[in-house]
């Protein structure tokens, strides 16, 4: 085990930083109503979808970029310098996955995501999103046997328009915030999931996002609806090439859980973080929110955030149904010159709603890591419970860790508890491990994994292993 970890640690910084050479269908940089019309036309969307986008665009024009409260600093983003659409050229509609452009197939293989049906990941269905479009979705037929819809978003607009119209924007409205409005206007693809009543999804659903083209932004939109009594576990992974420029990723994820439904949403975010001097990297401004609309419903967010130059995301739960449950488990690691301002919101509306927040922030090198979380107990939320624990670990003396919880309680029967600690990896701990023959780098990854364990164990197996490796690689060179 220790040799394996060492090997991982010794590997190059960001091994996902290659680019793929494919023929592109790409828009010139810039954003206007016309650009939105072109995107909508490329996707052969119905007029209601275009109107919805234009509404988002008009709201975006009214909104200001949220600069004042997040603890992030970055150069202003020029929204007219971004390409809002880039897709690998496809000659015709794919009849089967075997017809996929071999270059793209190789890209996903290099990333450890084989898309050929015979080599499929055991028990994981994958939707592969390459720049602005979904290029492949596996296990579609198998899933459809259970009545499960797992579709690229653009296909869902055509195949399940009534579900899309009913739920799109029902959790994150177009005008929710600056980045959500931008996404509403220009989103290109993403995944759509519908689990029918009483169905327990027989496999993990997963989307793998890959930014490839330069100067492009990625604006995907994911919508998951778990109907009454259903269950789904959904995974999301992301990587991007190494480039000196910053690239914008502004996604929106909406989850809806009806009575007794459960959604487990896991993310391993590994966008390119920029180099050791802070050049390049993805700006990751993401709005993720789930609504526990039904009684006894449950939404659980687990995230491991190791990538991106800037991370701005607060996966949240609106606990509307009585007895509904929200969970947020997060590991955020900032090294190099990365900055993360991340956390969650738990809005308790229904009676006896409960939420748990476990956040582990690790700061190394010049990393800046902030936890920002809101727990709000509304007046009618009798017997609501929240427990939050936010721990920060510091490695080195150039980094920072910050905790900004907001607890707002309007009901006397609620019980809200918040705990936080900040500490460094102790020299005593390192020496103790070394005295038992464990090298310093192994000791650090041992301690970091111990620190994160409570969160990592929430991840599905394959992802947990992946996440542990990522934490080790991201910390390489941060110690000593």
């Amino acid at each position: 085990m220790s040799n394996q970890t060492l090997e991982q640690l010794a590997k190059a910084d960001y091994e996902w930083g290659f680019t793929t050479d494919v023929e592109q269908d790409i828009l010139e940089p810039g954003l206007s109503e016309d650009v939105i019309r072109v995107i909508s036309a490329k996707k052969s969307e119905p007029s209601w979808m275009l109107d919805w986008r234009l509404d988002g665009y008009r709201r975006w024009l009214q909104l200001a970029e949220p600069h004042h409260w997040a603890k992030l600093s970055y150069a202003p983003i020029d929204y007219q310098a971004i390409r809002y659409y880039a897709a690998p050229k496809q000659k015709k509609q794919l009849q089967s996955l075997d017809e996929l452009d071999p270059e793209i197939r190789r890209t996903y293989e290099k990333l450890g995501i084989p898309l050929g049906e015979q080599k499929l990941l055991a028990n994981v269905a994958v939707d592969a999103v390459f720049d602005s479009v979904s290029v492949a979705t596996t296990f579609k037929k198998e899933l459809e046997k259970h009545g499960i819809l797992f579709l690229p978003f653009s296909e869902a607009v055509r195949r399940a328009p009534e579900l899309v119209r009913r739920y799109l924007g029902s959790v994150v409205p177009q005008g929710d915030n600056f980045f959500a409005a931008l996404n509403s206007a220009v989103f290109t693809d993403g995944s759509f999931v519908y689990i029918p009543p009483g169905v327990r999804c027989p496999m993990e659903l997963s989307t793998y996002f890959r930014i490839n083209a330069s100067e492009t932004g990625q604006f995907e939109r994911t919508l998951i609806i778990a109907d009454k009594g259903s269950y789904v576990s959904y995974l999301e992974g992301c990587t991007a090439p190494m480039r000196d420029e910053n690239q914008l990723h502004a996604a929106v994820v909406e989850l809806v859980a009806l009575d007794d439904a459960q959604i487990k949403y896991s993310t391993v975010q590994n966008w390119y973080p920029g180099d050791a001097e802070g050049r390049g990297g993805i700006y990751n401004f993401v709005t993720k929110r789930g609504k526990c609309a039904g009684r006894r419903s449950k939404i659980s967010w687990t995230q491991v955030e190791t990538g991106s130059a800037i991370t701005w995301k607060y996966p949240s739960c609106i606990l509307q149904g009585d007895d509904s449950v929200g969970e947020f488990y997060s590991v955020a690691l900032t090294s190099k010159h990365q900055q993360a301002d991340t956390g969650t919101k738990m809005i308790h509306i229904g009676k006896r709603t409960t939420s748990t927040i476990i956040s582990k922030g690790i700061s190394a090198a010049h990393g800046q890591n902030s936890y920002r979380g809101l727990v709000r107990i509304q007046k009618g939320a009798d017997g609501a419970r929240n427990y939050s624990q936010c721990d920060s670990l510091l490695i080195g003396d150039q980094c920072g860790a910050h905790t900004f919880p907001y607890l707002e309680v309007l009901n006397p029967t609620a019980k809200v508890e918040h705990e936080a600690t900040t500490s460094k990896i102790g020299e005593d701990q390192l020496f103790y491990c070394q005295q038992r023959g464990i090298s310093e780098e192994d000791a650090v990854s041992l301690i970091v994994n111990g620190f994160c364990k409570r969160v990592l164990k929430e991840l599905p197996m394959e992802f947990a292993v992946e996440a542990q490796k990522l934490l080790g690689v991201s910390l390489e060179g941060a110690v000593g």
């Binding site: 085990m1 220790s2 040799n3 102790g426 020299e427 005593d428 701990q429 020496f431 103790y432 491990c433 070394q434 005295q435 038992r436 023959g437 464990i438 090298s439 310093e440 192994d442 041992l446 301690i447 994994n449 111990g450 620190f451 994160c452 364990k453 409570r454």
Partner: protein, 264 residues
Amino acid sequence: MTTPMLEIRDLHVRIDASGTGGTDGEAILRGIDLVLPAGEVHAIMGPNGSGKSTLAHVLAGKPGYEVTKGEVLFEGRDLLSIAPEGRARAGVFLAFQYPVEIPGVGNMYFLKQAVNAVRSHRGLEELDAMEFLSLAREKMKLVEMPEELAKRGVNEGFSGGEKKRNEILQMALLDPKLCLLDETDSGLDIDALRVIAGGVNALRGPARSMLLITHYQRLLDYIVPDHVHVLAGGRIVKSGGKELARELEDKGYGWLQAMRAPAG
């Protein structure tokens, strides 16, 4: 003459405060000479602040100390130039006075990491999970360690006695050549002391040497040393047989401190 397990020659040590922005500290060890042959158990006794723990820390390579003079040979090789984990892999084991808690890291997992790091250094096959578990179970009996403790994080929430048992368990698993036991008796009641001493005695052997560092003679009733050295003011001021410990118990350290050679 065979090479001794450990040979300390004129060792001078002071606190190295360069990392903390403070000024360098005063000398703590002021010329230690000691020879520990293979198979022997020596006790180092002395009043608080005499430098006993510093000696153990320096031998194990703890950062924060500066060796200003002298050398330390382990099986005839220079010990001080080796990194702490290298010393551990070569067979130097320190049982900590204050074992460190490492939250979230499972005790068994940690021990397996350590054992395999040491084994692979010695050219032995790494143990798989099952092999390790059966080895660990066997050694746990030695220190009467409840199975339940193995499942917790390293020393996390352990009582003082449990932590010390865990140290001796690690010692048994890592199979070291030189054991440094730093105040292993502190904070133990008599029953726990008996168990731990039993574990230590079981590990005595012709190829293993031990340095017992203690303030009290009590430990030496259970682990009988071949030699006793008294440390005061950073030097060994008296050496003798096991009866010296008894003498110290009766007379205290005062009469020895008067013997302390003038500080250099």
